[in-house]
């Protein structure tokens, strides 16, 4: 296992595999950060139920754009240009979850509750990682992601408490996003995931991170009165 800590100045000396994996993970992270606003801004900024919610949609987008900026800076400093992601159509996003458009408020709420939570898990993978410039941008990004998750959770609970129709909408959205959330962790037994851990770029295997997520999310779903979807139904990555 690689245990050194790397700065920008050390990057050129690194093993090609390390360079390739770091470049790849930064590109994916940048894509996920900017992929969020591209999913919800178009329809949710005008359609949010209150003026305050409209402004919070805009603030969330601002924070995600800033996360993209920070990741793009870390990537750009080692010669990885991720600016093309700013004009990438949604259907070309690296992660399938970000391909498409959010068109309902319940999807927007559950997206924050479940998918931003996966985002937090992905960022937590880099805690104490071997590439210090990446580690340094994490605290502020994670703090803001926690706000997005809490807002999504609160809006999901509001829907549930609004009555049977709202609860059914929330359940339908959970059924959709839960499976996508689990797929976002990637394949069980992934060789690439093993190499990320070897190089100190990630902490957990895909399956361990997914298991931790399930252990966190399932009790919350039960607590708020929703059914936990079958975690194997409709999955692309087992």
């Amino acid at each position: 296992m690689f245990t050194d800590k790397i700065e920008v100045k050390d990057f050129d000396k690194m093993n090609p595999e390390y360079k390739e994996l770091l470049g790849h993970v930064l590109t994916i992270q940048a894509d996920c950060e900017i992929g969020g606003p591209h999913l919800y801004v178009e329809k949710m900024l005008p359609a949010a139920p209150t003026k305050l919610d409209q402004l919070i949609v805009a603030r969330t987008a601002a924070e995600e754009i800033d996360h993209f900026r920070k990741v793009a800076r870390v990537a750009g400093d080692i010669g990885i240009d991720v600016s093309f992601l700013l004009s990438q159509p949604n259907e070309k996003r690296f992660v399938e979850t970000f391909r498409g458009l959010i068109t309902t408020w319940e999807d927007n709420a559950v997206f924050g509750f479940l998918i931003d939570r996966v985002g937090r898990y992905q960022l937590e993978e880099f805690y104490d990682c071997s590439y210090l410039p990446l580690q340094r941008i994490l605290p502020d990004i994670v703090t803001e992601e926690l706000g997005h998750i809490e807002y999504g959770y609160n809006k999901t609970v509001e829907l549930i408490e609004s009555g049977d129709v709202g609860k059914a909408k929330a359940q339908k959205a959970v059924d959709y996003w839960y499976i996508r959330a689990l797929d976002m962790f990637g394949r069980t037994g992934s060789k690439r995931s093993e190499r990320y851990r070897y190089w100190g770029l990630k902490r957990r295997s895909n399956e361990q991170a997914r298991e931790d997520y399930l252990n966190e999310v399932d009790p919350i779903l039960k607590k708020i009165g929703l059914k936990v979807p079958d975690p194997n139904q409709g999955r692309h990555f087992a």
Binding site: V41, L55, R73, G76, I78, G79, S83, F84, L86
Partner: protein, 63 residues
């Protein structure tokens, strides 16, 4: 040292300005959510800024 991406600083500055402008518009609207004219203007400002970013004409931003 690795060679940084061309125009990295310019893009960083542009996005920083966009984020600040968005936060400014949001902060202007939030205390006035019950005053339609002010809050509608704030939302319209957010829309305009976000439309530009979502359009993703990066080359134009950097010129």
């Amino acid at each position: 040292m690795p060679q940084p991406v061309e125009n990295l600083d310019k893009l960083d500055e542009h996005l920083k300005a966009v984020v600040q402008a968005l936060h400014g518009a949001v902060k202007q609207g939030i205390p006035h959510v019950k005053e339609p004219q002010i809050v509608d203007n704030a939302v319209a400002d957010c829309r305009e800024i976000l439309d530009e970013i979502m359009a993703g004409h990066v080359k134009e931003w950097l010129n």
